[in-house]
Symmetry: C2
DNA sequence: GTGCGCCAACTGGTCTGACCAGTGGACTAG
DNA sequence: CTAGTCCACTGGTCAGACCAGTTGGCGCAC
């Protein structure tokens, strides 16, 4: 039998979508770079030869994707924004909310991610970066005496440094996103933790052990300790029935 | 000194944003579920007491986020969509396009991700799942005789099974997203690969070795093989200067 | 000449009302 | 009971209007 030509299903492309495409293409080509300004809406109306409603719908889409920002009255027009992970985080948060994603999955993912990042980092780290790691430990220690938010921030700095050492910004972005979603889910509970100081001290101790293992070049042990730390830190917020699955992730 | 009240910087909330928020909240509460329909635009105009332009801007935002879909003429109104990773992929693709993300970072990320997933899967897998893995190998072998797209699909099925065995849908989503972005970047080059059949056979061989290691319960070896496979498969598309960084990821 | 305050020409946000092509359910003819 | 027709209603787009807010330059006072 002869093969009839393969036709693709075609759905109508709306005018505002073509505007979005054109602007995104200009961005991809480098004709538009963050910090630059778009022409005003009325000017875009003339350039694209469509109505203002259509231009505005396109701008709203771009704005919700974190590509541009419009401010009323600004004579320079909409601003092209640099990339931010917030739009990414929004999507993952939505994924979590639809409940196709449980807290234990998020934490399990971080255990796997962070463990892998630390294992890589323990191979790639330079002596200077080891010093930096030590410095973040000191910062965490100091932050404990301030408040939980400060400690959380210092902890974030630690993990960001790990991601940077592993030379992969996607790991960093990923960690950032998932961490943000997790904290969004349980921040209210963490704030009410009675023995938060003890928890922070224990977490600090774990981090110090991780750094020791990294210094010794024992990536395997470092990763295991990191997963253990993550588990101890968050397990209390996970339903008992799901704790076992997480516990299984600790061992290699 | 007394603490003056902490005022937050306030930016004006546009009407369309409040509509988006209300609909997303309804979705989060479960008042709205995928498959349901929103009232028609003109009905929403009445309910929210705003103009149609405003309602439409809100709908465009929701639509670009993959939350709803409007079809002209549909008397049932806009449809609430189930979650899809395509919006997520769009964001990551944007991240890659802005060039804060190189191909080697994407591939390195997949090496780390996939290795970790396989390591976990080799611990959690049941005998039945091992059989499933064997079956996907057979499917890959068959697909080689069809074409590259078929092989690629079979390969995808393999990795999705791995992610499922590791009991973490985020791994699956993550793999899916990054894989899609990578293929989007190099699909044109892959299509022109002269010796694609040899490449596919080699890839199949690697996969079989991975399954062997999983069967033996040697997660460590399985992960290493998986990273090696990924490297061999994609390294050709990465600039020489960055290949070394990737090669360093192969070893544990 | 210099500094300051005012003003007008813009901006984006929202609204009203209109037209069109297309959809799909109801209704009717067989 | 089926098949075909039709029309009410849908979303897509447009045109034009008003408003509050920003900003940069102009003119005034010193």
């Amino acid at each position: 039998m002869t093969k009839s030509p393969q036709f693709q299903p075609v759905q109508p492309v709306r005018a505002y979508q073509r505007i979005v495409e054109q602007i995104e293409e200009a961005l991809a080509r480098g004709d538009l770079t963050p910090g630059q300004r778009l022409p005003s809406e009325r000017e875009l109306v003339a350039q694209f030869a469509v109505s203002r409603s259509t231009v505005r719908e396109a701008l709203r889409v771009l704005e919700s994707n974190g590509v541009v920002r419009s401010r009323p009255g600004d004579p320079n027009g909409p601003e092209i924004l640099p990339f931010s992970s917030s739009a990414l985080r929004k999507q993952v948060a939505r994924l979590a909310r639809v409940d196709e994603l449980t807290l234990s999955e998020l934490i399990g993912f971080r255990m796997i991610m962070d463990g892998a990042a630390i294992q890589v980092a323990s191979r790639l780290r330079t002596p200077e970066q080891l010093d930096e790691l030590e410095a973040t430990l000191v910062a965490m220690r100091d932050a404990i005496d301030v408040d939980f938010a400060a400690f959380s921030e210092a902890d974030l700095a630690f993990h960001e440094l790990i991601a940077r050492i592993s030379r992969n910004s996607l790991i960093q972005t990923c960690n950032d996103v998932v961490r943000g979603v997790v904290l969004g889910l349980i921040s209210d509970k963490i704030a009410h933790a009675p023995n938060s100081r003890a928890l922070m001290l224990e977490s600090l101790h774990h981090h110090a052990e991780v750094v020791d293992a990294i210094r010794a070049g024992n990536g395997h042990a470092a990763a295991r300790l990191a997963r253990q730390n993550m588990f101890d830190y968050y397990a209390g917020y996970v339903p008992d029935s799901e704790q076992e699955t997480l516990r299984a992730l600790i061992e290699d």
